[in-house]
């Protein structure tokens, strides 16, 4: 499955107003699609990506491309999101560095990369841009919006504030409001970037070298939160990396150190440090308990939707109780909710790894949605 990246540009004349009060113009949104949009435009699904994801959720960019999209296990013919039936869309968030407007893009006012002149964005802003894309594609109502982690936050944002545009919401391994612990991990990552002299207060895009060391540390912290203690035992144990015995020196000795260093450094080749700042900040602002003070109040206009909420038992970044809290709020407003806390040892990463259970669950849920949409009961 070879898929091209497409770009939708809007807000050239009518700037996008952001939650901060600032505006963005024009706005570029990179997206990819799989499957065929039917004549009624009624079979579209939007997939939302996580912190460091991109629009490239499935398939390959070229014949020589070795790595498929980030959720290729679940998107494709006969897979959980069956592209023989559905038209699946994934768009890169604004503030990112994979083709959508973000700090690496050239600011039309200065002719230089935005850097920290890019306005601070929120999950609400990301979704506002996605709504424009769905308008542009001529889709009135999506079958569902689905995503894990930060993707799940976008799903909840769609459900809370754009309910009339979707039949169902599938938030996976996520939260309705970032907890102090999650903000704390975000801040450690940001501080690592600030502390790297090459960051240069965000002004490095012209210099050719960015704050790779800082960004790598941020990624390492992130990786720890995506695993679980049990999965780290399984993956690495106390095993040494290419060593028979301790070297009594400050080199990479343990397998887990080697894993973190490798992934940290690999990450700097594919991600931008400023984009990391913008996106983690957007997640920290996310709080659907506001402005009313209760989560349920955010969903009082969204009770007609079908919800499939999924969490994983060993996820300690977005622990199951976050999802349970969401399920309780949705139940309180009388929404139709299905919830499963999948038994898994893989921590937060489980949402990408528990493919078999997720496939069964998603196929059943989507099968039901298809029937209800056809019958006009959804």
């Amino acid at each position: 499955m070879i898929v091209p990246i497409q770009t939708f540009t809007f807000a050239e004349n009518d700037p996008l107003v952001l939650d901060s009060g600032l505006t963005l113009s024009p706005v570029n949104l990179a997206y990819e699609t799989w499957g065929t949009l039917n004549a009624e435009k009624s079979n579209a699904i939007l997939i939302c990506h996580a912190l460091t994801g991109s629009a490239h959720a499935a398939g390959y960019h070229s014949e020589d491309d070795k790595t498929p999209g980030w959720w290729d296990d679940c998107i494709g013919p006969g897979k959980a999101f069956d592209t023989d039936k559905f038209f699946v869309i994934c768009s890169n968030v604004i503030g990112g560095c994979y083709g959508s407007s973000g700090p690496t893009e050239i600011d039309p006012n200065t002719g230089k990369a935005y850097g920290l002149n890019f306005p601070v964005i929120t999950i609400g802003d990301m979704v506002r841009a996605q709504v424009k894309l769905i308008d542009h594609l001529g889709i009135g109502k999506l079958v569902c919006v689905a995503g894990g982690s930060m993707g799940g936050m976008q799903v909840l944002e769609w459900a809370a504030h754009h309910a009339e545009r979707i039949h169902a919401a599938i938030p996976i391994a996520t939260t309705s409001h970032h907890s102090p612990m999650e903000i704390a991990f975000g801040e450690v990552g940001r501080q690592a970037i600030y502390a790297d002299p090459a960051w240069n207060k965000g002004d490095y895009h012209e210099s050719g070298t960015g704050p790779d060391a800082g960004l790598a540390v941020a990624r390492m912290v992130g990786h720890i939160t995506y695993l679980s203690e049990e999965s780290m035992h399984q993956k690495f144990g106390r095993r040494l990396h290419n060593l028979e015995k301790y070297g009594y020196e400050f080199e990479t000795e343990f397998e887990v150190e080697s894993y973190l260093r490798y992934n940290g450094s690999k990450f700097t080749q594919r991600f931008d440090a400023n984009a990391y700042l913008y996106i983690t900040k957007a997640m920290d602002y996310f709080d659907l308990t506001q402005p009313s003070g209760t989560l349920a109040a955010s969903f009082t206009e969204s009770t007609k939707l079908r919800y499939l909420v999924v969490s994983f038992t060993s996820d300690w970044l977005y622990p199951s109780y976050h999802s349970k809290e969401l399920v309780r709020a949705l139940t309180a407003v009388g929404a139709d909710v299905t919830y499963l806390d999948i038994e898994s040892q893989w921590g937060h990463d489980a949402f990408l790894l528990e493919v078999e259970t997720m496939t069964g669950l998603l196929q059943s849920f989507l099968g039901r949605l298809e029937k209800e949409i056809l019958a006009g009961t959804s």
Binding site: K324, V327, T331, A332, V337, T338, Y339, L340, E343, G360
Partner: protein, 196 residues
């Protein structure tokens, strides 16, 4: 077709188009039946992952959860019927659950195995052991021991809680029992409503 006779009896007690919540709904057999044959608007709560997955395969809305935690997030009187089928003996606090069921629903339907069934009585008398119930096997390595209920026990409980018995059906297999139910019924189905 539905396999357990008590489920069919429960279905008979439920009015058409009722808003139904099935506590401990297992694989969703009853809920599916109620939606298809009674046009119910139904959902369930189920503890096991396999149960939830089976329900979703049937196209049902089910929440994974422990009913012992209560139904706090369900608003008062938000449902017509709340069902507890064959789960009563496993509850730590049946009073709490029955009160919750009647807070949330207009009617509570409870089915359970009758430990006053004649074979249980004889087994106890002859073996000196707490009688086993073939429908819900009790193992020493199981999670917990059941709390035994006879029809009389359950009726005492409802009186103590202060709820009305609206309807009662006694079963031996598929047969409804009219006379001598206290020792002849294997399964009982009660429909409860708030007193007054």
């Amino acid at each position: 077709m539905i396999s357990r006779p008590d489920l069919l009896t429960i279905a008979e007690l439920i009015p058409a188009e009722a808003r139904v919540l099935d506590l401990g709904c297992d694989d969703g057999e009853l809920l599916e039946y109620l939606i298809e044959h009674k046009q119910a608007r139904g959902s369930g709560i189920e503890l096991s992952e396999d149960g939830v997955l089976a329900c979703v395969r049937r196209g049902l809305s089910v929440r994974q959860g422990n009913i012992e935690e209560g139904l706090a997030d369900y608003p008062d009187d938000s449902l017509d019927v709340v069902i507890l089928s064959q789960t009563l003996p496993f509850l730590n606090n049946p009073t709490f659950i029955i009160n919750e069921m009647l807070r949330v629903g207009k009617c509570a339907i409870v089915s359970f195995p009758n430990w006053g069934y004649w074979r249980c009585r004889i087994e106890y008398l002859l073996t000196g052991r707490v009688p086993q119930f073939p429908d819900i096997e009790q193992k020493w390595d199981g999670d917990k021991r059941w709390q035994l209920f006879t029809l009389s026990d359950f009726e005492d409980l409802t009186q103590w809680i202060g709820v009305e018995i609206d309807d009662r059906v006694y079963l031996e297999g598929n047969q409804k029992i009219e006379k001598g139910a206290r020792w002849r019924a294997r399964t009982a189905v009660y429909a409860l409503t708030k007193a007054g």
